[in-house]
Amino acid sequence: MARPTDAPTRSMNRLARRTERRTPINYNETQKLRNRRTESGIIPGSVPIRLSMLGRVQHRDIVLRAVSAACKLVRERPGQLEGDTEWSEFRMHVVTAVSEAFNNIVLHGYAGRDDGIIEMNIRPRRNYISVELRDFGGSFDPARVPEPDFARLPESGFGLFIIKELMDVRYRPGRPNVLTLSKRLRDRTARTDCLAAGTAEGGGA
């Protein structure tokens, strides 16, 4: 019987145990895992763009550049790229949300440890993108994270709110935790319309 594509493999579990023991992670092992998956044809359809890295703040720029570049593969019509307001807004939302998600894993999931691994799968489609982030750090329940109390002018707690406002979010806690962010080009909700048009309620000084 075929194993579900999102189920952790033995190699991933081994990686998780190594992360827990703070032992160095052998990148060849993640490569072997990928090769085996590909050879066995487990991944249906097109192969996602993949990155694997240690969860360190210094690595975030690499992640964001990859996501930004992947957004260039997403377009609703030929030639729709930079200069197109809707596409620029789409890319800005995706990059911002992924940035916050990466921060959350590094700062909260791994709580400052610098030896935890993060795997990222990017799936750009014609008018759609999904970005999956996998980690072996602490889990959380997005539904139980309160929204910022804006009336109190808080100084933290914005990250998940920003992510949810800008992209669709799915989260599965476990080993690994799997956070999937997705967005459709031209998926313009009332809120993002306000952002784009600069007409957010009370948007004046």
């Binding site: 703040v57 800005m92 911002t96 914005f158 920003i162 004046g204 000084a205």
Partner: protein, 115 residues
Amino acid sequence: MTVTVSTQDGGAARVAIEGELDTATVGDLRSQIDKLITSEPKRVEVDLSALRMLDSSGVGALVSLYKRVRGYGGEVVMVGLRDQPLAIFRLLRLDRVMMGTDLAAAGAKQPSSNH
């Protein structure tokens, strides 16, 4: 990220932030703010016209600056926001509290990412 702090006559100060204000760079801004606050300037203008990218950590530092200056009776005005940082300010409803009249002009611009 580059932070330039200049003090002016009459107890005013100007803080110009360029580049990306995020988890990786926010520590520099916070230490500069700590130094600035010791002199308790009456008015602080924060120029964000050259800020390209702002994340929630950066927002936290700006809110902290705002609250600390207001705490001793000073005034803070944030000017020049555009593109992604302006969108974040609006999303977090900070434009209603922390922005100067400059926002009205900036609001006519469409946000876009320079990343």
